[in-house]
Subunit: 345 residues, 2 copies
DNA sequence: TGTTAGCACTCACCTCGAGAGAGTGCTAAA
DNA sequence: TTTAGCACTCTCTCGAGGTGAGTGCTAACA
């Protein structure tokens, strides 16, 4: 991979990709010399193109068509070639205004972010809500509900709340419950949810052995937070944008992608923040999941209390305005983090 | 509308619709006599068909094609003609088993119901989660969070919970907060959320005038429950089923429908239970929203504590197995209500 | 009077071939 | 090393002609 292209090859590759991103049409040698000033003839370009194809940066749909970039080509473009392209003042204003006028409370943030993101990028957007497993346990409290049930409320340091109705086993009083909560709190407060595991729970169990039934259900409350099940949710936006892309004019392709977007578990896996990079680009076949190997994805993470805790992403054809997307994602995550702060998180 | 069709016209209409539902092809006179035993010749059928078209029950895509049912035709079919068709034992088992194995806690119920419903019907499914505005206020409680914030938790009679982080205004103690909660609870306990309106809030305001700032934010907690904003959510399932229907082979149509399904506000409007009917069928142009006037919709309501509180729906082409859909919806709502009961609601 | 056979006619759909256009690879000259 | 010239390839579009399903009408029939 230390293989570097000479200056002219770079220019040609860049021109081809820029053009293809704009037009979605295979680009030929003539087009290049007409639209980009390289000071050479089409024949020369053709030679360069043949070389670039040999090297794997370009592909040819059929013998007598122009070239289109390969995944490798895009990768090189993203890493080395493209000009950064920042947001227009208008777009920045739109983002700020959107949050100001549309988001009146914290629960709307994520859905509205998804809408906004697809509106700005003209691609499908995905927003993963905060992952509770990255938060720390603050306390558990039982609130009265009726004679036979009690409401367990669990609070995290980041202000997220989980709750569950729990059947009260016979012979247990409200005072007992307070006691149980106290024991649990003493043991768990300050731990991250993904640290609250079997051993710790067993230890707890020994201490609350008197009331195993109740304990069981209140542990459910804890346990479900360490599984990817609830609380976390993926909001989608702009799925209809797929129809506007010429590469998806075949309904079967759209169908395949939409089918994937319905598989929540898959989306969690894709979006769960793995690396610490701020913005990450995955191109075509670099994607693990076959359904979207014709797509590229730009993901970025946002934070609460300085903790990386959620992800936003854009999904579109490999022919994507990468430079623009990256700027948008940077700006959006910063705004999002700020808005969450405003709501006390 | 008191106009009744004679026996043979009914038989013909029924045969045409049954056939069209199965094949999605305009049906001609020959087909009818071949497949359905009416004991007359194609010519006779043609005459009947011409009559039925005059009366508005049938339409002709173009001069030399067979007939297809009109919205009016389907309506008559649903109201008077079709045979009830109940679920197969296999389908009933699938539904029960789905809930047993997949739904481990109450939060999964709705999403899984959407998946299950689209799986069984092969259409797009919609599940509206319980409407908090139909519940009654039980109590509000403040839980400590940190020195500057407090966690307001609001509980309904049906066991639904809303919560919000609230900034503590200077000079207010936890005791003050308890007092405020008490005042609010005295005034509101037992009221339905859609009854908690301006007047009542003003009255409350007079009583808690001491701490207007805090009051404001804790009222937000109440207020947001009377708006269609949060808590309620629409889960979708099987959007890709649209692609399988021949009537939607034009991507533009799919796009239009998907665009509509992204408009949450619209979905609330459509799904919010209006009438008391158990199952309701809306056919083609009977739909208020232009995007789905090529579709039919079968909706049904489910209940918590005997209160009609949410809706499930199926959306598909007008050419739909109405009889089957109605049975499915009846069975599903009954199961759903039961599952919710199992989880203490 | 209701039903049926016969027949001319309509219209969507499929296939095929011709022509245009864009682009390539190769060769030979500059 | 670059460029001009040229034959070749492949896709796309368009129109013509043929096919088949289905209709409406008319006239004969029970």
């Amino acid at each position: 991979m230390a293989m570097t292209l000479d200056e002219r090859k770079r220019k040609v590759l860049r021109a081809i990709i820029d053009d293809y991103i704009g037009t979605a049409e295979p680009v030929g040698s003539r087009t290049i010399v007409r639209r980009y000033e390289l000071g050479v003839s089409p024949a020369t370009i053709r030679n360069e193109m043949a070389d670039l194809e040999m090297l794997g940066y370009l592909e040819q749909p059929h013998t007598s068509a122009g070239r289109i970039p390969s995944a490798k080509g895009y990768r090189f473009y993203v890493d080395c070639l493209m000009d950064p392209q920042s947001l227009s003042a208008h777009e920045e204003a739109l983002i700020r205004q959107w949050y100001d006028t549309r988001v009146k409370e914290v629960n709307q943030v994520f859905q509205e972010s998804a809408k906004l993101l697809s509106r700005i990028t003209h691609h499908v957007s995905l927003v993963l809500t905060p992952q509770i497993s990255q938060c720390t346990f603050k306390y558990l409290q039982f609130l009265p509900f009726d004679e036979r049930k009690v409401l367990g409320v669990m609070v995290t340091d980041t202000g997220l709340v989980e709750n569950k109705l729990i059947e009260i086993p016979a012979g247990i009083s409200m005072v007992d419950l307070q006691h149980i909560a106290e024991v649990i709190n003493n043991q768990l407060t300050g731990l991250r949810f993904d640290q609250i595991r079997g051993e710790l729970l067993a230890e707890l169990h020994r201490q609350v052995i008197k009331h195993p039934l109740l304990f069981q259900t209140s542990l459910d409350l804890l346990r479900r937070t360490s599984q990817v099940q609830r609380g976390e949710k993926v909001f989608l936006g702009g799925t209809t944008q797929l129809f506007s892309q010429p590469e998806f004019k075949d309904p079967e392709k759209v169908k395949a992608i939409l089918a994937m977007l319905e598989e929540d578990q898959l989306l969690y896996d894709i979006l769960t923040p793995a690396d610490t990079e701020e913005v990450h680009v995955t191109i075509g076949t670099e994607n693990k999941f076959s359904g979207i190997q014709q797509c590229s994805m730009v993901t970025a993470t946002y934070a609460i209390h300085g903790k990386t805790i959620g992800t936003i992403a854009v999904l579109g054809p490999t022919r994507m305005e990468y430079a623009k997307m990256i700027s948008v994602m940077q700006f959006m995550t910063r705004q999002l983090t700020e808005v969450l702060k405003k709501f006390g998180l």
